[in-house]
């Protein structure tokens, strides 16, 4: 059986990892919007913007699937 201290540390680590995952997801969304809008206007093509968002959605889905399959 785990001691209380070990369990507390383990919970803290789990929570910290969950916080970092949430922050990384949100940060990547912000970065995508920033880069996407500049790239779309720089290329002058609407497909670049749509493509950037579409690829990002696929990437988020792929990461989510991979994480679930790994469990």
């Amino acid at each position: 059986m785990k001691s209380v201290l070990t369990r507390d540390a383990s919970e803290r680590n789990d929570r910290r990892a969950a916080n970092l995952r949430t922050a990384a997801t949100l940060g990547s969304i912000a970065l995508l919007f920033f880069v996407g809008i500049v790239a779309a206007q720089y290329s002058g093509s609407a497909t670049v913007g749509i493509g950037a968002v579409g690829l990002a959605i696929l990437a988020f889905l792929a990461v989510a699937l991979w994480r679930n399959l790994r469990k």
């Binding site: 916080n19 949430t22 922050a23 912000a30 995508l32």
Partner: protein
Amino acid sequence: MSSIPHDHAAGHDAHAHVPSGIMRWITTTNHKDIGTLYLWFSMIMFLAGGVLALTIRTELFQPGLQIVDPEFFNSLTTLHGLIMVFGAIMPAAVGFANWQIPLMIGAPDMAFARMNNWSFWLLPFAAALLIASFFVPGGAAAGGWTLYAPLSVQAGMGLDFTIFAVHILGASSIMGAINIITTILNLRAPGMTLMKMPLFVWTWLITAYLLIAVMPVLAGAVTMLLTDRHFGTSFFNAAGGGDPVLFQHIFWFFGHPEVYIMILPAFGIVSTIIPAFSRKPLFGYASMVYATSSIAILSFIVWAHHMFTVGMPAAGQLFFMYATMLIAVPTGVKVFNWVATMWRGSLTFETPMLFAIGFIFLFTMGGFTGLVLSITPVDIQLQDTYYVVAHFHYVLVAGSLFAFFGGVYYWLPKWSGRMYDETLGKWHFWLSMIFFNVTFFPMHFLGLAGMPRRIPDYATQFTDWNMVASIGAFGFGLSQLVFLYTVLKAMRSGPKASARPWEGADTLEWTLPSPAPYHTFETPPHVG
């Protein structure tokens, strides 16, 4: 909404070591300290933006040029808008979030305490850049807070200062939003499901998502502006193949959700105050959550109602007109629910409640003028007139600001451990209420009569109402000194506050002693 199962002080150490001195404030990672820093910063910026507003109103007291030249007048209107939006209202809302969200969800602190410190300490540098831009060659930005290209592409060095300030403010906001979402999603006390969260927490969760979605868009717009100015690109310059209207589309894709970023936390505060002083649970809690979400979603599809005069196909005009009108539905749900909460409640009218009721009354008026402006042919007549100035001041001053005043009076006992002077608080409310209307109500008449905004001089037919508005502005400005005095007096010598000074208050923070200990909820409470 969650209710208090029982009074408890488990997990709080009222005698914990509290750092002191200037280094406490510079290096602090405590959410209460950072909330305090945000609130004082926003107060200072509110006074700075207010001084610019009073200079504008002094110039407009009578026709002709009195005290400032036209170029400087344009800088005043521009910086007044930027300072109030990014320096006063938004940081005040984040200050409330920092203080209240961990206390209301039973979390020990924000999820990323050091990033929280960074989010705040970026702000003074951005504010310094904005204010310093007055003193650089060419003066401060003068094209309005919207920084419209291609005019801004040709502006002086002051605009570069503004662009960098907006970048820094945007980074601060995004970090703050990430922190708030992570805190709410991951650090809620056991038993506090999403649909048990206080509505203030809900409104901030939705606001934080809006921030994540639109601040990068603004950052992208000003980055393109910067490269157009200095690196030879032509995003917005027609001579180089760019599109001058593009900037407006991108700006308002940020700008309209930004309005809700400023008002949704105010909705949350009002939704907390009204049940407390009605001694009833909030009417239609779930519908309030859905209405807030609907407002946020709709805010992404209405941006071009700011651009009806730019020219767009009739189908586009109709779409943006009807989409804008649609926002009145969830907003109406909220107003209905606030009134229904008060209906047959055991009402008392302490200062927070007065500000909340003032908010409902005046914000609804601002909402109705917004509906008037959403009608495309009417908007084309009223575009860039004082009617628009009246509309958004009813929404943002009587809306956001009044709610924030109410929030300060409501939570000050918990923050400082001391009660404010109720008489002074009521003086502050009534003076603000009267002088606000004296200032901004006549602007409807001026706008309907055709007076354009952002001009230092005007036709003599507009003189009388401008004089009334200027007198009201000075009255409103001086009224805020009553607020400052009331808060400082309470903090220095106010009578001690009990743990729960408002008998109708039922959220988690009121289970704590007053003032809230430096460290709270280190052992999470269980919410029933």
